[in-house]
């Protein structure tokens, strides 16, 4: 149980509340990258200032990043409670990230084998799930317009070589 709990404040486990602060997370992000980077680069030859090895500049930067991350983390830990907490919008956070990412992955996987047309339909279809406000009919119309546009600009206009239809 955390001791700094003041009366009247809703009970939230202290650790989680602190973790949700933007600066705490940002600090941990920097530290995490720095630590991983330092570990990956542990065998890179450092050399001397005169003859810098492969690892000289990266490791220098990683140490700076580690220190900066520490400072940001400390700032986050010392902040007043209410300040800079990530907003409580959890319900809708995942949906856009997942579907925007998925739509691109689908597009990437489809473009070479299934061609531009099907890839675009996939991208728009999956992408439209990212917004809760999407309307099926409107999405269909958007897809049709964008399809015509893309073929006109990229295939006809710029003459890019990509498959338009599936290759059997």
């Amino acid at each position: 149980m955390s001791e700094g709990e003041k009366k009247g404040q809703p009970f939230i486990p202290f650790r989680w509340e602190t973790l949700a602060r933007k600066n705490v997370l940002a600090g941990l992000l920097f530290i995490g990258v720095a630590v991983i980077g330092l570990w990956v680069s542990r065998h890179y030859p450092i050399g001397t200032a005169l003859r810098m090895g492969t690892g000289y500049v990266p490791r220098l930067l990683l140490w700076i990043l580690l220190v900066l991350g520490g400072v940001v983390l400390l700032q986050g830990l010392r902040e007043a409670r209410a300040h800079s907490e990530t907003d409580g919008e959890r319900t809708s956070i995942l949906r856009p990230i997942v579907f925007v990412t998925l739509s691109l992955v689908a597009f990437a996987l489809a473009i070479e084998r299934l061609g531009l047309v099907i890839s675009i339909v996939l991208l728009i279809g999956i992408g439209s799930l990212a917004s809760r406000e999407s309307k099926p009919l409107e999405t269909l119309l958007t897809a049709a317009v964008l399809l015509a546009f893309s073929v006109a600009i990229f295939i006809v206009g710029l003459g890019l070589t990509m498959p338009v239809w599936p290759e059997w």
Binding site: Y44, A49, L50, L68, P96, L104, E138, F154
Partner: protein, 501 residues
């Protein structure tokens, strides 16, 4: 007159039908995304980078530049008519611009915004033409130690003048520098952070990264925010002109805004947004009756709108003359140059006068086009505001996807873009601006190269940066900036300037 001669070269390049076409395309796209909230010049330029791949370098740059300053024009339209900033650089225009619209003076507000912008654009073009050659000469006289210190100063200044936490911004620069190091080390041949992937041997590709960070990241952020419904002022805008009295009130503000914007644009970290905020604060300070502000003072539109256009354009100066990007848009421009194998730096002007002066001349032409695009055709742009974001983001998403793919015809690149999209979302949510990261990424290889060369000159003694007077001066300036920004009094003032919205 060398200046006239240079401008003649420039207009010769810019007036070719092809380049006029790309200037127009840039101005149109710029106005479009300026009008539409939810997509800004950074994301758009990132999205269109792949397209410039297939163009002549100068045509590509002309178009990208047009998007940047075109967005300054378009942004004011939304700000005035809908009270929504189309761009961050027109946030302050909402305050008095929309009040004017509600008083039935929308026409005057739009006119002063467009004409002020045009005046500022003309002056800024002349400033670039006169200031760039001497600056490039200074740049060319720099040795490796001076250049390294200059890069340090540029990066520090960029984060000090931008908003948000300075420490986090420096962290983002370092992160960018590190990402720039991924791949094969040009000097030793050793590979760095490639995780055994041959795809990474040549380094991270610029296009998937910026499209992910700025294009896709922004979509995700916008979609997690509650749906913003827009109320378009459906009334027809009439009387796109100024009364004599309005004109008298506005022109000194246009002059002041142009001056302020031109100066702030040149500074690293400056550019359109900072200029418009500063101009609004300044106008309020010098006004005889500050209480008019917020109730439809025409100076509150004239000043910031002139300033943001001036700032947008003069921010090209450090990029074109020294190879130092002062903001994310300029970093993207550098990316566009390097895609074509052009090393940005002071040598551009002498080695590629056509490119440099063609671009400068096109800015003036583009501004002229923008006045026409924005004033008589205003009705069309207003109609576009009816496009809901749920349709808009699908278009952005598609352009991002196809754009990334076409650069190398690479599935891997699209996956990388998706990955950087998630990263971009996380950065924005943690208030770690992705812009400094791009500055670092672009400048990383250049910095390491100059550091190595400086060390070779001094036989490995880092004191060389202190012993050379110019280098020392630049480093002292960088240190002073950091100290100043750490002072509590300045800190609160800085927060205040960026707070207005």
């Amino acid at each position: 007159m060398e200046l006239l001669q240079n401008l003649a070269i420039g207009f010769g390049v810019a007036m070719t039908p092809v380049n006029l076409g790309f200037a127009l395309a840039g101005a149109l796209v710029g106005t479009l995304i300026g009008v539409l909230p939810g997509i800004g010049p950074i994301a758009t330029i990132a999205m269109l980078l792949p397209l410039t791949f297939h163009l002549e370098p100068v045509s590509g740059l002309i178009m990208l530049a047009g998007i940047f300053y075109g967005a300054q024009y378009g942004g004011s339209t939304t700000a005035i008519l809908v009270n929504l900033p189309g761009e961050t650089s027109s946030v302050v225009t909402c305050i008095d611009g929309h009040q004017m619209a509600r008083q039935g003076r929308a026409g005057a507000a739009l006119a002063v915004a467009a004409l002020g912008s045009f005046f500022a654009g003309t002056v800024a073009t002349l400033i670039i033409a006169t200031l760039a050659p001497p600056l490039a000469m200074v740049g060319q006289s720099f040795g490796a130690p001076e250049y390294f210190s200059l890069l340090v100063l540029g990066l520090i200044a960029a984060v000090v003048l931008a908003h948000g936490s300075v420490i986090k911004a420096i962290g983002m620069i370092i992160l960018g520098l590190l990402l720039g190091l991924i791949g094969t080390d040009g000097n030793t041949g050793g590979s760095r952070f490639t995780f055994g992937m041959t795809r990474l041997a040549d380094g991270l590709d610029f296009v998937p990264m910026v499209i992910g960070l700025f294009g896709l990241g922004e979509i995700m952020v916008n979609l997690t925010q509650p749906g913003h419904t827009r109320s378009v002022v459906a009334k027809k805008v009439t009387g796109l002109w100024l009364t004599m009295q309005e004109f008298r009130q506005a022109w000194p503000a246009v002059l002041r805004g142009t001056g302020l914007g031109s100066v702030l644009g040149v500074l690293p970290g400056g550019g359109a947004t900072l200029s418009s905020f500063a101009a609004y604060v300044f106008e309020k300070k010098v006004a005889k009756d500050p209480s008019r502000f917020g109730r439809g003072a025409i100076e509150g539109v004239a000043g910031p709108e002139s300033a943001n256009n001036a700032g947008a354009q003069t921010s090209f100066i450090p990029m074109l003359t020294l190879g130092i990007p002062g903001n994310a848009v300029m970093a993207l421009m550098i990316g566009a140059l390097t895609i074509h194998g052009i090393q940005p730096g002071p040598q551009i002007m002498t080695e590629r006068p056509q490119l440099f002066w063609g671009m400068v001349a096109s800015m003036w032409i583009g501004n002229l086009m923008l006045v026409i695009i924005n004033l008589p055709l205003i009705g069309i742009w207003v109609q576009l505001l009816k496009i809901p974001y749920r349709v808009l983001y699908l278009s952005i998403l598609l352009f991002c996807g196809i754009g990334v793919y076409t650069v190398n015809n690479s599935t891997f690149d699209v996956m990388m873009a998706a990955l950087f999209g998630v990263l971009g979302y996380i950065f924005i949510k943690l208030e770690c601006e992705p812009a400094p990261l791009i500055l670092g990424f672009v400048l990383g290889p250049l910095m390491e190269d100059n550091l190595r060369r400086a060390m070779r000159i001094s036989s490995g003694d880092p004191m060389i940066f202190m012993e050379r007077p110019i280098s020392l001066g630049l480093l002292i300036a960088a240190a002073m900036l950091l100290i100043i920004v750490a002072l509590p009094a300045i800190r609160s003032k800085r927060a205040e300037v960026f707070q207005e919205s």
